[in-house]
Symmetry: none
Subunit: 260 residues, 2 copies
């Protein structure tokens, strides 16, 4: 603890970045310390009282700065334990979530992506859909399927299923499904994704313009609202030869224990 504060305050003088209220100066300063690598994910911040004494402000002022950083997901607090820099995994997950947005992901690779509707409509739910979306046989399910392409090269097939209660008019979707959901207040906050390899059947292979039996990436994603309710179930099939899925892993440190 004392050690950390020493490190923490070693380079910078006790003079805060100027301008604005104290707690904002302090917030910016902590952010800088994290971004510049002086404090790393998993590290503990000095206790609020230590920080306050060192910078010579009241503890509540420190707290106000810290709380904003907690709200932003930069810091994590544990009552009775301490304040810690949030693990990078959250940020990795955030970057993974951008896979959610197919268009963004491809645009990052310099490709212009267009979509072509395959189907939009209300149907009787399949057993799978009833099970996952929690529907009864008398409910209706909204299905949206489209083909993603760059130029004339098909890249992926997306088939989304939602309760008709959430998406009563599938034809009303013009832009992104997620934007549409967001406008109606149904915003997914969490998703479980399963990736596996599969050989493409005749229909999918035809749509993707590859030989039947070619390898494809099969990604199933179930999205949840903050309430925990399932909002959407999507099965995507990517051509194995044009799409890959990149992720960064951070290998943990075994050095243990509770950080003071």
């Amino acid at each position: 603890m004392a050690d950390l504060s020493e490190r923490f305050f070693a380079d910078q003088s006790v003079v805060l970045p100027s301008g604005g209220p104290l707690y904002l100066q302090l917030k910016r300063w902590i952010e800088d310390a994290i971004h510049s690598g002086q404090i790393n994910p998993g590290d503990a911040l000095p206790s609020e009282r230590d920080l306050a004494q060192k910078v010579d402000v009241s503890r509540v002022t420190v707290r106000k700065a810290v709380l904003q950083l907690v709200r932003d997901g930069i810091l994590v607090q544990r009552h009775g334990s301490g304040t810690f820099v949030a693990p990078r995994t959250q940020r990795v997950e955030q970057s993974l979530s951008q896979l959610t947005s197919f268009t963004d992901d491809m645009a990052r690779r310099g490709m212009v992506v267009r979509a072509q509707w395959l189907d939009r409509g209300l149907y009787l739910p399949s057993p799978d859909e009833m099970l996952i979306l929690g529907l009864t046989a008398s409910d209706r399910v909204a299905r949206i399927s489209r083909l993603r392409l760059t130029g004339d090269t098909p890249l992926a097939i997306e088939r989304a299923s939602l309760s008709s209660e959430i998406l009563p008019e599938p034809l009303a979707i013009v832009d992104s499904l997620y934007k549409h959901l967001d406008k109606s207040g149904n915003r997914p906050v969490r998703a479980i994704q399963r990736i596996r390899a599969a050989n493409l059947g005749a229909e999918d292979a035809g749509l993707l313009q590859v030989p039947e039996g070619s390898a494809g990436l099969n990604i199933e994603r179930t999205s949840y609202l903050a309430s925990g309710r399932v909002i959407e179930f999507t099965r995507s099939i990517y051509r194995g030869d044009t799409y890959d899925f990149v992720a960064e892993l951070r290998l943990g440190d075994s050095s243990g224990g509770t950080k003071p």
Copy 2:
């Protein structure tokens, strides 16, 4: 805040890293004693009560330090017998479990996984290996490949490539590649992973006992040292029908930070 330096100094002339909780200071002291050769693998530590009395802390405090070292694989305890320094080969780096997650992952599904060597040796590097590992045509590359199976069902093929500088004797590997690397001080801290679908060629399909052309998950992983240097490059091929890859995503919040 208490500091044990003086107490240690009284009996042993060891400079103790000061600061932090007592049990952490003690833990660091024991680690140093082992690393500096004052205690050797196989040797017994003083009993917990003796240590406690010598350092003048409670036995539970000693125990907390010892338990962490046991958890890290540095020490081994035998009820009624004593505490001993673990032989080097037994030390398990928990941190690497995320990398060698294959076994854990399968174990979690109730499967017992075994491995079968396909190849271990030094070769002339392929262009890919030269590029990724930073080798010249006159360097040699160490290749390790093995088949993972449950019972008699093959699950995956792993092919790792390393610089011969890092792994001069591939045949010396008996257990885990990562344990071996750790012993020689080459410890990966970061990895980039690429997942894609691919149709299996004749050789791989034969090893995995599936028809040629079946879909497989192709995972390429490049591991980095803390210095940023590439240490290892692994291509794994999983059977598409027996392995899937599940991940949880947290969908980011687009709302910005504070607006003063």
